[in-house]
């Protein structure tokens, strides 16, 4: 019952505002849904102001300004100003394309706390190939501009088979740019990256080598540059504590106002996700069917239900469980207690080794490809 679960809802400490799904880049591993072409009814500035205010009142402290590419929004400075006024710690998660040194200065004045810039690779050719546009030189310039404005310089590189062999160079580039923080995020396979899994999934050997390189630099650069290496869960025996639990800490608002516990949740069947256009953040977070669906432990099936580790990883990822077993309440097959674990391992091993994907092109994240590849799942665009 929504009522009895609301007292374990906790606070939405982390608000992710996906301001738009428009983006000048076309990365084939993008974590946005395949249905990006259907999100045309973007929230207005005033809508976002209300979302910010209501979430803050519930205890939100960290604000991620993301997308797509948040720089596409011309009201970004206003949103930052309001977020700052409300007391958020604001993080701009960006490709860097759509700003210049002057705009970075305006962000500083508006009170933006930090800017995270993505790189697709450590060399221009691969970076621009993956991003689908000439952006490498500009990113380097923006990394420097961010530092010039007194920001901590934070870089994000999504790792996959096409760039994992460059890891040493990627870290060296980060050191040269005097990055304070480097996030090496192994690709997760939902949406676009799932479409391209044959191209993107690294082998276990590649992953292990990358992990040792990351560890080496973590030691070497201790106290100088913090390196966060996110291990790909496909090669693990226990799942990640996805989002720290469903509806536990993270609240994502998609560009059309749909509220989600995570990036990929809209892929789950039979759940209507509430929209901020006609619901308060409080009612969404505390009372909605969607946000309460996988809260607590009552929804769990075996082996999760009686597992002593359930409070540690919450059974893993619901979206992954649904994707691989057809049951969103099942154990995440990454866990070796799942009856689907071996099948996942076999699948992963064969995908990583096969080169049949080499005959198929990479499917880049474009609006045209969105229309072509989106799933048959009935999608009800939130019309207002």
């Amino acid at each position: 019952m929504a009522g009895s679960l609301s007292n374990i809802a906790g606070k939405p400490l982390w608000l992710l505002a996906e301001l738009t799904y428009k983006c000048p880049l076309q990365c084939p591993y993008c974590s946005n849904p395949l249905e990006i072409s259907k999100y045309s009814n973007e929230l207005t500035t005033d809508d976002w102001f209300r979302v910010l205010r209501e979430a803050r009142a519930l205890g939100a402290m960290q604000l991620g300004l993301s997308g797509g590419e948040p720089l596409v929004r011309t009201d970004l400075e206003e949103i930052i100003t309001e977020a700052h006024r409300l007391g958020y710690y604001s993080n701009l998660i960006t490709s860097g394309v759509g700003m210049d040194a002057e705009r970075v200065a305006r962000f500083k004045t508006a009170g933006l706390d930090h800017i995270q810039i993505s790189f697709q690779a450590s060399d221009k050719e691969l970076n621009d190939f993956l991003g689908g546009t000439s952006s490498f030189a500009h990113k380097l310039e923006m990394a420097r501009a961010v530092k010039d404005q007194g920001y901590p310089m934070v870089l994000n590189i999504v790792l996959h088979q096409k760039n994992i062999e460059q890891l040493d160079d990627i870290i060296k580039m980060s050191i040269e740019l005097k990055a304070d923080f480097v996030e090496l995020a192994s690709t997760q396979y939902y949406g676009w990256s799932r479409l391209n899994v044959g191209h993107l999934l690294p082998t276990k050997e590649q992953v292990m080598k990358a992990e040792s390189i990351a560890k080496h630099y973590q030691t070497e650069m201790k106290d100088k540059m913090k390196i966060l290496y996110v291990v790909p869960d496909y090669y693990e025996k226990r799942p990640k504590a996805c989002m720290n639990g469903w509806g536990s800490i993270f609240l994502t608002i998609a560009p059309d106002g749909r509220a989600l516990p995570c990036h990929a949740a809209a892929t789950l069947p039979d759940i209507e996700f509430p929209n901020v256009k006609n619901n308060s953040i409080k009612s969404i977070w505390t009372d909605s069917y969607a946000f309460n669906k996988f809260r607590g432990f009552e929804w769990m099936e075996e082996p999760c239900r009686s597992c002593p580790e359930k409070e540690k990883d919450f059974g893993g990822c619901r979206c992954q469980a649904y994707m691989m077993t057809g049951d969103a309440a099942a154990a995440d097959p990454v866990c070796d207690k799942s009856s689907h674990h071996e099948a996942l391992q076999a699948d992963v091993a064969s995908i990583a080794k096969t080169s049949s994907h080499k005959n198929e092109p990479l499917i880049f994240r474009t609006m045209r490809n969105s229309k072509k590849y989106q799933t048959d799942k009935i999608f009800s665009p939130q019309q207002n």
Partner: protein, 86 residues
């Protein structure tokens, strides 16, 4: 340490969170919920006061024994975490 001057590293923001009823440290995409001691100490890390001055100020507001040891212990940990520098 007692005569050194600690200051908060620029990547970290220290603030009181009404909704939480405690002080927090916020940094890129992360947060640390601070214990009462930690909050009271960091509140006085202004970049102008030496550890000695900090302890005196704290002692005035919280007349308890062994405060200096607790403060030094916490500041050592804070430095290790990269929250402060001297």
């Amino acid at each position: 340490m007692i005569n050194q001057t600690p200051s908060l590293c620029s990547m970290y923001r220290f603030q009181w969170e009404e909704a939480q009823g405690n002080y927090v440290l916020l940094y890129p995409e992360g947060m640390v919920k601070l214990s009462r001691t930690a909050g009271e100490v960091l509140k006085r890390v202004t970049g102008d006061a030496t550890v000695k001055q900090l302890v005196s100020a704290l002692q005035r507001d919280f007349p308890e024994s062994d405060l200096e040891n607790d403060v030094i212990k916490f500041l050592t940990e804070a430095k290790q975490n990269g929250w402060i520098s001297f």
